[in-house]
Amino acid sequence: MSVATLIDVSVTYNGRQALGPIRLQVNSGETTALVGPSGCGKSTALRLLAGLERPTAGQVERHVGKGETAVVFQAPTLAPWETVLNNVALPLRLAGVESDVAREKARAALIRVGLLDAAGLKPAQLSGGMAMRVSIARALSMSPKLVLLDEPFAALDEITRRKLADDVTTLWADARPAVAFVTHSVDEAVFMADKILVMSPAPGRIVHEASVLAGFPRPPHFRTTEIFRRTVEQVSDALAQSMGSS
């Protein structure tokens, strides 16, 4: 079932075409990865799906209510003056949820990312990976129908990002919201997504679509399986081709 759809959408900034025309549907229970060269409009596509931006042409359909969309940015984007718990509770508080109830739900979200012990800390006291987890817990706190991640692990080291990718796919496996994320890493895209969309250089269009037919959470040693390696190769080729064709 479609949660958000971009229909023949294009975006122009100051007369320069930045994205599209592009057609993109994000379905509930499905994780979509957008892969493409820098500046191809991946993040713009994400912001369109989030409803944070309007397209210059085309149509955006969103079947989500207020507060049902969660965005995780490249940086953790936490309020430095609030505790971890209050940061996670923030979306609920903004939606008018009682303080006690919000904190209870925030605690539950922190348990899911394994950071309940850090509830009383301030963001400055967290490591990069912990802060990102808090950001993910905040996204989870509202039980969103649509989750959008904009290069969520780009600033983390390889070990932390693998661990987080693992955890995140496990987290989605329960609630199965519609997830769309942008990444530079083909490896990460194949590991985390059901559907991978390869984009061309700006103005970005979708030039290739790949599916990964393996369940969530990923089986152990998924990165060594034939299906993983084959898909990575296929996506990398498509990416190289798209960049060569410009």
């Binding site: 989030a50 965005v71 940015f73 940086a75 984007t77 508080r93 939606a95």
Partner: protein, 255 residues
Amino acid sequence: MKRRLDVLAPLGLSLVILGTWELACRSLSVPIYLLPAPSDISLALIANAPQLFSSALVTLWAALTALMVSALFAFPLALAAALSPLVERAVRPLAVTLQVTPLVAIAPLVVTWAGLDHPEYATTALAAVVAFFPLFSGALTGLKSADPDLERLFDLYGATPLQRLLRLRAPASTPFVLEGVKVGVGLSIIGAVVAEISAGSGGSQGLAWRIVETTHQLRMAETFAALVALSTLAVILHGLTQYAETQILKKWRGR
């Protein structure tokens, strides 16, 4: 060891300067009405301590009142400017003009308006004028300093303008407001002193007036004693605001 050196270095330099000064004054027999020796100044400090203390309180009071008055104007205006670009465009040039106009140049005017009987009004007004810009500018910069991605999150979760102000912009402005207050405190002392000197009458009994009075009568040791009191006041005030800023920021960001 390093910490001890950090404390000892400025202390040592001061002692060297004071020692040289004392020696020079004695060996060259400089007249006390031109340049009193540090020992003379110390004696004057002790002899005039009660009077200097009460004068320091007058100046301090003027500066602090001015800071409050200034904040009463600066913070609401900064808030209005942060919420409306039109207000900002209207206010900013005026605030900048106020900031770049030398205080001494407007002091005689303000002193005249305040009238000879109430030089303390002029002191407060002038100190408030100089403290305005750092307070206003700090608050405005702070209110607009929130992380744009956090602003987007607030959009996403449909925050009301009031929620955005109370949960995002106001708390995000804290470090900038504190910095503005710190600069404002220092400037308000300068403003009070400039006003007292311009008033040039005994109506205000602040430290600056002590300086004017004693130089006119060539009681230089007392002039220096008043100067020492003034610097001490300013240094203590700066130290206190610096300490308060550090403590609040520590609490604000958790380390």
